[in-house]
Subunit: 260 residues, 2 copies
DNA sequence: ATAATTAATTAGTCGTACATATTGACATTG
DNA sequence: CAATGTCAATATGTACGACTAATTAATTAT
């Protein structure tokens, strides 16, 4: 919840009326807003790969901020693998293979508007692999308190099944608790990022409403709490598979067979 | 090869005599060097989580660079989730759960010196899951030219088995070719990052020289080229498992049972 | 005790000046 | 004529100084 809320507000929000230039005081947009502005244009292809983007001075003029702000923003984008700056040549958009796809900001920029189905499938591919494996590891490594938490969250899921918002929140916490029980920091990071972004994208694109899968969730919780490694993996795989089918049924062939 | 070499030089090298302050001209260290300097100190715990690091002016004085350079560096570190700046309070080190663990720079900073066995195991955990899955996907999705490339690299691996350096390079290309054949950009990114950093860390920590596992590599290649999905997954899992055992046999229980 | 005010401090921004590295055109040379 | 070396252009890289704004913490008033 902490990370999720923070990531969202840090990314989507914050924009500080990026679009509304009609403010009386020329409310100059500051660092984060400039980063988001240029970053979005890059990941959404407004600036093509290989293209040289406007020089610092042009940005200064166009956005009405100091050169320092522009430079700091470009440095951040370079740190994320989006661009590379060089004297005399300017700032060039790097090939997308260099982009740090799992960076929370880049993730949300890509999902935020006109997401592409290929990318969504890449994400679900990854989740289909990570989560069952993480679930199996959790069955091995979770401490007893962690098992109790998982069991409690499974029950919570059942209680909240009628409240749309509460259910989504509880569902996210359930998955997060399992991933955290692997005691593997990298898993946690990848898992949490994927979970949040997939949920957001599904909500945004098709409106709310997916199957609750209460029984499947409980099956997962039971397997993990019984420390049944193999059963845990399978149960989670089934749960994810159902979810993937939900997404596929809504998005259609563009998702299932993306133009590579 | 492109990404690998670049990532390495961009990270480890570059440092531009960071340590050698004995240069005649006060060779001021520039942006990338400052980022690496502070970044390393954070991920290696020299600055503890929650700690406030020196103020901008102190860095200016201590490192003999302009305030702009320091600010740009801190902004980059903030973009990587390492720190958070706030007026009056200063720059605080964020909890490690916020760090972008898969960022190539952070990855290499952590491995570079006094690595921690827990982190090494986290990495191998992830690889043990990603690579077999990727291998299975490759068996499904690889194009015919890609299959030919994989077969060719497997042969190359055999030719190069007597040349230490050439073998490592060929091995890396082999794994990369398989991962790229999944046509999943996220896989490629995670896989390549982990492959490179694990190789480096293994070289550094346990020295070079393990089994070549030529037969196992060929088994993987054959399974993929025959498009045998399940066999591909298993063959790759075996290959990885052998490698993990190599590492475990040398590092001992600190690796196998890390203190949580 | 609690809440509002105020003062101190540090990051945030701006602007200018200059240094440095890369580029691409041009000239030189073998 | 191709390969190489030189040179001027140009945009980023860096430095410095002044000021703004936001957060904190101490102080005061309720």
């Amino acid at each position: 919840m902490f990370y999720g809320r923070d990531a969202l507000s840090r990314i989507t929000g914050n924009g500080a009326q990026v679009g509304t230039e009609t403010s009386l005081t020329p409310t100059r947009l500051h660092h984060a807003a400039v980063v988001a502005l240029i970053g979005r244009d890059i990941v959404n292809g407004k600036y093509a790969v290989g293209e040289i983007l406007p020089f610092e001075e042009e940005f200064v003029e166009k956005l009405d901020v100091g050169r320092g702000v522009i430079r700091e923003a470009l440095r951040v984008l370079a740190a994320k693998g989006l661009v590379e700056t060089r004297p005399k040549r300017g700032t060039q958009v790097l090939p997308s293979s260099m982009w740090q796809l799992l960076d929370p900001e880049i993730l949300f920029w890509r999902i935020g508007q006109n997401f592409d189905p290929k990318f969504l499938r890449d994400l679900t591919d990854l989740r289909s692999i990570i989560e069952p494996a993480a679930c199996a590891l959790a069955a091995e490594r979770a401490s007893d308190p962690e098992l109790q938490l998982i069991a409690a969250l499974a029950r919570e899921l059942n209680y909240a099944k009628d409240d749309e918002f509460a259910f989504i929140e509880a569902d996210l916490q359930f998955h997060r608790a399992i991933i955290q029980s692997t005691h593997n920091d990298i898993f946690v990071q990848i898992g949490v990022a994927i979970e949040s972004v997939l949920r957001l994208s599904v909500e945004v694109t098709v409106g709310i409403g997916h199957g609750r899968r209460i029984a499947e969730h409980e099956k997962v919780a039971k397997a993990v709490c019984d420390r049944q490694v193999s059963k845990s993996r399978i149960a989670m795989a089934e749960l994810i598979e159902l979810n993937v089918l939900d997404i596929a049924s809504i998005l259609g062939p563009a998702f299932s067979n993306p133009k590579n």
